[in-house]
């Protein structure tokens, strides 16, 4: 292992120990011990105009042990801390699902478990990340991998050189840890990165060899892209200076995916700096494409209440305040209809790769 990693590991372990020691000191002082956890909710997220990022505010919440509603989470936080320390000490990395199983057990002679399901342990990991200001990777944890990539680029993944031009139909699957100590970039002739919402559409682009004809890297994140994909796209953008285009469904969820790629998410606002690409461009599907590209209305889907609420929320996001974005969202709400990327197949199965996207890029018909 590289010496740098050792330094990080040492630092992380020290942070965990400090957390435990401070709790112990409070208890020895006869006081109710607590953890100071930055609040991860919309109320504590701010939009930085300057950096064009969603940032975590300064609000913290005290998580006491002697408090009926907090005691369990307090206990869980230390179970997770202890498990992470052990991982780091033994130099191993594991999935967050694995960690759930490691820390789950029955409490004493009760019928209660330390964790009932993974939905209980995942937020505790995030709490720990923000509290200690450590990245998940630094805790030796990763999420389930999801996402694939191909394009005219050669990379090195933990020592193996991989040519992403020869990945066949499935592409290279993006790991969840893509930091420099794991992934580095070599030779490339790519002109831009295209992030596609869906695996199915990405497959069409790969099969049509779109990336070869247009010299670009195509990535998909299976819906909301996981951290690995987001971090990798950011690195491609920063290190290789490639512009990023996002191609998503014409529905509030698709817009939100674009928004997360661009500014970061509310839940992971503390990691926006490492993952967001403020310059990312939205190429489609636009609410006005149905006219421009003559998509018949019979392939539209009716917006439901959830869609409408989501759209209304987005109208209020500071990063969607621009008139063009307001028009875009309002048009969708007004028509009451949404379109999947696949709707373009009505105009021909390769319409999207041969006509739609090339025209969009040629006309610079995108939003920022």
């Amino acid at each position: 292992m590289a010496p740098r990693k050792d330094a990080i590991s040492k630092k992380t372990v020290a942070k965990i120990e400090k957390l435990a020691e401070s709790v112990l000191k409070t208890v020895q002082g006869g006081k109710n011990p607590f953890l100071d956890i930055p609040v991860r909710s919309l109320a504590n997220v701010t939009w930085s105009d300057k950096r064009r990022l969603v940032e975590l505010g300064g609000q913290k919440q005290k998580r006491y042990f002697f408090n009926v509603s907090m005691a369990k989470k307090f206990m869980q936080t230390f179970l997770v801390s202890e498990a992470c320390k052990e991982l780091i000490d033994s130099g191993k990395t594991t999935s967050i699902r694995d960690l759930y199983y490691v820390t789950k057990h029955t409490i004493g002679d009760t019928r209660q478990n330390t964790f009932e399901d993974q939905d209980e342990s995942d937020p505790i990991i995030e709490d720990l990340e923000v509290t200690m200001d450590s990245l998940r990777e630094e805790l030796h944890l990763f999420a389930a991998r999801k996402g694939s990539m191909v394009g005219p680029v050669t990379i090195v993944d933990t020592g193996d050189t991989i040519d992403l031009r020869r990945m066949g139909s499935g592409g290279w699957s993006v790991p969840s840890i893509v930091e420099e100590n794991v992934i580095t970039f070599r030779k490339h002739e790519a002109k831009y990165v295209l992030l596609i919402e869906k695996d199915a559409v990405w497959t069409r682009f790969n099969e049509d060899k779109f990336w070869k004809r247009n010299s670009c890297i195509i990535v998909q994140g299976g819906g909301q892209p996981p951290r690995g994909v987001r971090r990798l796209v950011q690195r491609l953008h920063r290190e290789l200076k490639l512009p990023v285009y996002v191609l998503v469904d014409n529905d509030p969820w698709g817009f939100y995916i674009y928004s997360v790629m661009k500014q970061g998410s509310i839940n992971l606002a503390y990691e926006s700096m490492r993952m967001a690409v403020p310059d990312a461009r939205f190429v489609g599907l636009s609410s006005f494409d149905k006219d421009k590209y003559k998509i018949p209305t019979n392939v539209a889907i009716k917006m439901d209440d959830g869609d409408n609420n989501r759209a209304k929320q987005m109208l209020a996001y500071p990063w969607f305040k621009h008139a063009r974005w307001q028009n875009e969202i309002q048009e969708m709400v007004k028509s009451g209809q949404k379109y999947e990327l696949e709707a373009l197949s009505r105009r021909g199965i390769s319409f999207i790769t041969e006509e739609y996207l090339p025209k969009k890029l040629k006309d610079k018909d995108w939003l920022e």
């Binding site: 112990l24 919440q61 006491y64 408090n67 009926v68 907090m70 230390f78 202890e82 409490i107 004493g108």
Partner: protein, 713 residues
């Protein structure tokens, strides 16, 4: 249980149908036309003839017009007396005899020792080893024996062979029977259905012989016919009465009523010992050498006799015009003032003068007889009585159960209920285990709060720390019965008056234990210590309880319904004259004065309940939070120990120390702050904490209510 309730449902349907069409309930074999006194042929004849201008003349009708004896009337209207069908008739027969025995013992100041036997004659006639209970209707022998004062020889035939003959009708005194119709009606029912006379053995004292009678009832004349009369030189009791009746009954359907009646009679009469023998089939028999039947005993919970109810004269405010005229007719007084003073309670010479000052003829010398003949005068007097303020009637005529005995009664009742066997085993009835307590281990204990015991085990490691969850001391009002904690509260109101009749309301409740929390409460209604098993919906007691807002006392209550919660509620009305809605004495009439008292008593009891529930909720909450922390301290101490490379033991002790320091107030404070700050954080965790709280016992003790429901649904 399933089997039993199915049976009850069967009973309910037939009962309800009959209740709606009482005329169909006469002898099913000879359908009788609705012309009272006419034979079927006579009644049918006019309709058969070609219609003449006039079908009957006044003269021809006059030939058919004759007196109707009460017995004839009740033969046709036996539902009015509670003999609607064979299952209900069984209960009514038992009830009339048992009520009489209890009345007689009480009046004579004797602690009652009763024997009640029900024999399935067909079962006992067969080879007992494999004999099964009679399915549906059959011949049954009912025997009720008491150690009461006995009945003098000369009276026996009339008491048992003549309707409307008794000692209780003409007086105002609290007793179970009141119309003098009870036991002779049962005798009549037996005679009508089996042709057998009632058999009565009675002895009035050591120096007297016991006497056995067999008595039949001449229903045309309403007169007794003695078919057997014999003196016995030997009898096992110095005094007492034994009544034997053969009737057509339905034990399968009626047993639940009988069981409940016996159980509840024991509850409301804690001074009585009752031995109850009932039939058992081969399938249910536990004891092979006791074929045919089994005996359950309800020992008395107190040797204290109820306060003697004193006989009183009627109060003027309760008298109706007709009754007033009748009383005046019979009066031997010289004038109206004397009549009022001697015939009524609370009328002094002064009060009489006061009343008479309100009538135009008040100054004149008027003989009471004149009132009986002059309606206008009587009416003036009746009005004057209503307008005159009088002292309330004396209340020493009432004998409530009383707070302490109600509690004792509830405790022994719940003890019987709790020792009930495994319901899953089959259709076990209420009392099945009462006689076999030792055989069936109550499974109640395991349901008792397990938390506390666990707390102890864990605290051992933390030597310096005090006991984290101390065992709560016995709480006031709480009775531990077979491992279940019941909160018991009772209220006895002071006597009040309706229509000039003194009455008194008592309420007792047993909350918690193994009563199910999500079901309607059990309502036990009593009138003069007699359980009321039918017509719950039509009863004034039910109305009083429904109209009470139990949400004030922390029970839930659907609109216009009984409250829902783990509770049994006993309501007793004691009165010299309980106003029933019918002669079968199943439901109390809706007098506003009575309803009001029931509500006041319920409210008073409810307030006690609310105090208890509030206190217990607060305690539960404290215990809950303590145990949460205890559970988690272990985990946290191990984790922190590993991280900091320390032993978990001392860390745990430090935490436990703080656990006792952090006061409830502090916790509440922090909780509030937490809720204000990160709402999403606090809420789900709260839900989790609530989980695992002691669940209400799954064993639902619902079967008792089935009798009422059977009647109504």
């Amino acid at each position: 249980m399933a089997k039993a309730s199915a049976r009850a449902a069967g009973a309910s349907r037939s009962t309800a149908r009959r209740a709606k069409r009482p005329q169909m309930d006469l002898f099913e074999d000879k359908a009788t036309p609705p012309v009272v006194g006419a034979t079927p042929e006579e009644a049918a004849a006019p309709a058969a003839r070609p219609a003449p201008a006039r079908r009957a003349t006044a003269e021809s009708m006059a030939q058919k017009q004759r007196e109707i004896s009460v017995s004839e009337f009740f033969v046709k209207n036996r539902h009015l007396l509670g003999f609607d069908n064979p299952s209900k008739a069984l209960l009514t027969t038992i009830k009339e005899a048992v009520d009489n025995s209890l009345d007689a013992c009480e009046e004579a100041g004797i602690l009652p020792e009763l024997t009640l036997e029900v024999h399935d004659l067909a079962l006992e006639a067969r080879r007992p080893q494999d004999a099964e209970l009679t399915k549906g209707e059959g011949r049954f022998l009912v025997v009720v024996q008491d150690n009461g004062p006995g009945i003098v020889k000369a009276q026996v035939p009339k008491i048992f062979g003549k309707l409307l003959y008794g000692s209780k009708f003409h007086r105002l005194k609290q007793s179970r029977g009141q119309q003098g119709i009870g036991i002779s009606a049962a005798a009549m029912y037996g005679q009508l259905t089996t042709g057998k006379p009632i058999r009565v053995t009675s002895r009035v004292g050591r120096k007297k012989d016991a006497h056995v009678f067999e008595i039949q009832l001449d229903t045309r004349k309403n007169e007794p016919v003695v078919t057997h009369d014999e003196a016995l030189s030997e009898w096992h009791q110095e005094h007492g009465t034994r009544v034997e009746l053969e009737i057509v009954a339905n034990w399968q359907q009626g047993q639940r009523f009988v069981n409940r009646y016996v159980e509840h009679t024991a509850l409301a009469n804690p001074h009585a010992t009752i031995h109850y023998t009932r039939p058992v089939g081969a399938a249910q028999r536990e004891n092979a050498d006791r074929p045919g039947n089994e005996t359950l005993s309800f020992p008395r919970a107190t040797t204290e006799l109820p306060k003697e109810a004193v006989e009183i004269k009627p109060h003027p405010h309760g008298v109706e015009l007709g009754a007033l005229m009748l009383m005046a007719q019979e009066s031997k007084s010289r004038d109206v003032s004397g009549f009022l003073q001697s015939a009524f309670s609370r009328v002094s010479a002064g009060a009489a003068a006061d009343i008479l000052s309100h009538v135009p003829w008040g100054r004149k010398a008027v003989k009471p007889r004149q009132l009986a003949e002059n309606r206008a005068m009587a009416e003036a007097l009746h009005k004057a009585i209503g307008e005159t303020k009088l002292m309330s009637p004396p209340t020493n005529c009432l004998s409530p159960i009383g707070d302490e005995l109600m509690r004792k009664g509830l405790v022994s009742f719940l003890t019987v209920i709790e020792s009930e066997g495994d319901e899953e085993e089959g259709a076990q009835l209420d009392l099945d285990s009462a006689g076999m307590k030792s055989k069936r281990a109550p499974r109640a204990e395991k349901a008792a709060r397990a938390e506390k015991g666990k707390g102890k085990g864990k605290a051992e490691a933390a030597a310096p720390a005090p006991e984290p969850v101390p065992d709560a001391p016995a709480e006031e009002g709480v009775e531990k019965i077979k491992g279940h904690n019941y909160f018991i509260a009772t209220v006895t109101r002071s006597p009040k008056v309706y229509r000039g009749n003194p009455f008194q309301v008592e309420v007792g409740l047993a909350y918690g234990g193994s009563w199910p929390a999500d079901k309607t409460i059990e309502l036990f209604r009593f009138a003069n210590r007699v359980p009321l098993l039918f017509q719950r919906g039509a009863c004034g007691i039910t109305e009083g309880i429904v109209k009470t807002d139990w949400r004030n006392y922390l029970l839930s209550q659907p609109k216009n319904s009984l409250p829902v919660g783990p509770m049994a509620l006993l309501v007793h009305i004691a009165s010299v004259w309980v106003p029933f809605t019918s002669e079968s004495k199943e439901a109390v009439a809706h007098y506003p004065d009575i309803l009001k008292e029931i509500q006041l008593a319920a409210q008073e009891c409810g307030r006690k309940l609310a105090t208890f529930i509030r206190k217990r909720k607060a305690e539960d909450y404290q215990a809950e939070r303590r145990s949460i922390f205890e559970r988690y301290i272990e985990e946290v101490a191990i984790a922190i120990g590993k991280i900091t490379r320390r032993q978990p033991g001392p860390i745990k002790r430090e935490f436990l120390k703080v656990a006792h320091k952090v006061t409830a107030a502090e916790m509440a404070e922090e909780e509030k702050a937490a809720l204000e700050k990160g709402e999403d954080e606090a809420r789900p965790a709260k839900g989790k904490a609530a989980r695992g709280k002691d669940q209400p016992s799954p064993k639902a003790k619902r079967r008792a209510r089935a009798a009422d429901e059977a009647e109504e649904e």
